[in-house]
């Protein structure tokens, strides 16, 4: 066993943290529960700087502009970007689309798509969920019908984050309505400027502006298909590994936990001992620190499994589920310990910790994503423990 990085990995982590500390000052950092175009553009700028060092697409081959490194380095990058509160940008292309193209794309597709992703030049969004399709993703209804020149898309995608920023949408569509539901789905990359695509704004409670994406007779060239027709479900599931480890999410929450710990050690609101010396507060901080460290280990186990070439399955669900629960427990603890001040928003004069407390509580209402917690418990029981379906 080894719970540490190699010297090279440690060095990468240190350099990365130093770089981010220098380039992402406090006032440009992402605040939980807030989103702004300006911050997002700053995130893209940082991405391009990372790309210049071959750090951005750390896992892609160097010939496409990547770093040629493995899953551990991907994990380090994700955790540090989260911990450094770098405004999120580009992550769907980097985390989901590029691995899928690497695995299933033609040489032409690799040449066309990978390098712009690695350079941080393009933004992707992901079209999986639909208005009537949530946990049971394989029942999706967006149709892609063949006609003479290619496919024609009709239907809608829902909960599409970054749809307004995206150059392309990476989506699943039904190509064979007659087949068993998992076997009639294909993967496509679609230019968002294609005629027939329209966006309905779908603001999120964390300040993000997602969209419903409507497809009205959208014509796609044959080359938009990724991999094999009707094998899209299986392809998507095996490459759905952007932050499969969850280290990005962990890093961003851990940062606020560390901030609150500092705050409790430094602040004595009633003029007496610091908050952290109150037995109940101390107990809660210790309990949450245990939760954070556990979450971290569960995430790193996923990254390590990926680094060995395995496809983590129940392990990824365990890390995701634990993180979802822990984030909520932490948010509730934070709001309790800081009292009404925790409800103040970023920008309000007396808001502690940049308003990240109310923001993280808001973010913690995201009790889903890659399936509900119920779905993840099902996966752990059925795939992890071999219980009957």
């Amino acid at each position: 066993m080894d719970f540490d990085f190699t010297p090279e990995q440690s060095q990468f982590k240190d350099e990365l943290r130093e770089f981010l500390r220098a380039e992402v000052p406090l006032e440009k950092q992402e605040v939980f529960g807030q989103w702004s175009e300006e911050q997002y553009q700053f995130g893209r700028e940082i991405n391009r700087q990372l790309a210049a060092r071959n750090w951005l697409a750390i896992g892609l081959p160097e010939k496409y502009g990547g770093g040629g490194k493995g899953a551990i380095e991907r994990g380090i990058l994700a955790e540090e970007l989260g911990y450094g509160r770098v405004p999120k940008a580009g992550f769907i292309g980097l985390g989901i689309v590029a691995p899928a193209i690497m695995a299933f794309g033609t040489k032409d597709q690799k040449d066309l798509y990978l390098s712009p992703i690695a350079k941080g030049e393009v933004e992707y969004c992901q079209g999986f969920s639909e208005p009537n399709v949530g946990s049971d993703l394989a029942s999706l209804e967006l149709r892609a019908e063949r006609d003479g020149d290619g496919y024609v898309l009709n239907g809608a995608k829902m909960f599409t984050s970054y749809a307004f920023q995206a150059d392309y949408i990476y989506l699943l569509a039904r190509t064979d309505p007659q087949a068993e539901k998992h076997r009639g789905i294909s993967l496509f990359i679609v230019d968002m400027k294609t005629s027939g695509i329209s966006l309905q704004p779908l603001p999120y409670i964390n300040g993000e502006m997602a969209a419903q994406v409507d497809f009205d007779n959208v014509c796609l060239p044959w080359s938009s298909l990724i991999g094999e027709e009707n094998r899209g479900w299986y392809q998507a599931m095996t490459t759905l590994d952007y932050e499969r480890s969850g280290l990005g999410r962990y890093g961003s929450v851990r940062r606020v936990f560390d901030d609150i710990t500092d705050f409790c050690n430094d602040s004595a609101p009633d003029g007496g001992q610091p908050l952290a010396e109150h037995p109940l507060v101390r107990h809660q901080l210790a309990d949450r620190r245990l939760g954070m460290e556990t979450w971290k280990l569960l995430c790193w186990r996923v990254a390590w499994l990926q680094s060995t070439g395995s496809t983590p399955n129940a392990e990824a669900s365990i890390a995701f589920l634990y993180g979802t629960d822990e984030r909520l427990r932490f948010a509730e603890m934070a709001m309790e310990v800081l009292g009404p001040y925790a409800t103040l928003r970023n920008g309000s004069g007396q808001a502690p910790l940049l308003g990240n407390i109310e923001g993280i509580h808001r973010e913690a209402m995201h009790l889903h994503g890659a399936g509900t917690t119920e779905i993840h418990r099902n996966i752990i029981a059925q795939r992890g423990l071999g219980m009957p379906r």
């Binding site: 949530g134 049971d136 409670i205 309000s348 995201h366 119920e374």
Partner: protein, 362 residues
Amino acid sequence: MNFSLTSEQQLLRNTAREFLAIECPTSVVREAEESGVGHAPDLWRKMADLGWMGICLPKKYGGEESLLTDQTVLFEEVGRALVPGPLLSSSVLAAQIVLHGGTDQQKETLLPGMIRGEIILTLARGERLETSSQSGNLVLSGDSSFVRYAGSANQIICATRPAIGAWPDTTLVLVDGQADGVIKTAMESIANYPQFLVEFDDVSLPDDAVLGEIAEGRVALELATQRATVIQCAETLGRAEKVLDMVVEYAGMRQQFGQPIGTFQAVQHRCANLKVAVDSGRLLTYQAAWRLDQNLRASDEIAMAKAQSGTLSRLATETGHSIFAGISFTVEHDMHLYSDRAKIAEANLGDTEYHLDQMIVD
């Protein structure tokens, strides 16, 4: 022993629910919140006409002189419907302070107008508020945070601390929100109403600004806080009940894997757990209200109700967002209206930890 509402109380509940279904749809709720005023003037006037502002106040001031239990019934509905405006802070907390602490003159000046919906009061408290006597004049200084509706309230009741060596206990004073030296700074939060940091820069007060007598404000403040705490529990309870209704309905309708998600045991058990907490909250809340109505010692029962109320809030929030999942993360869905208010209510008038600490354990 009888755990049911009287037929009058059931009527009150039904009437309130029907009225609010028409007059307080979430469009009104959202408009009040987005306007920044936290208030729906039309709705406010109609609620005043129904007597809601004075439900527990004496008839001689225009009130209904009903039981706290009746007000509890009413506020379950207020909670369910997410009614905007300073109903709790003005018509319960502040009004009860005036009732228990004010002179006859002050009651006559303030309560009828409040009951008619024309006067809004609010309470400012805090360790740093102080009234002192300077060359024979009363002077108010210090500051108070999280003062609700301080921008629009007609009067701010300040609970000022005992002055060492002079006044041995809390003094309540009435201050015009527009008076010289009153500086208000908005505190932007997840709350659905405006609140302020209010600074009092040596504000001179007339002698009749003292509510009741100097250094005798504590009892009135405590009595009013007790009642307001029960009503806060009722409001939280109503919201949690509504969330439960909403998720049960949605789970019966939303199809996944070829069946309503309400057929899944995990979803059923989440709902069952919330049902247990809702029923517990109802029993604890009404027990506290009933004891106050009976003039029985109730401080423990109030603490228990409020301690449980925090837990109930969290469970309703988690259950709602879990079952609605993605859709509840959107602004257009109503769930976040419930979860934001739940978080505010949890902290208001003491959270779970605070009230557990108030409970007797011997």
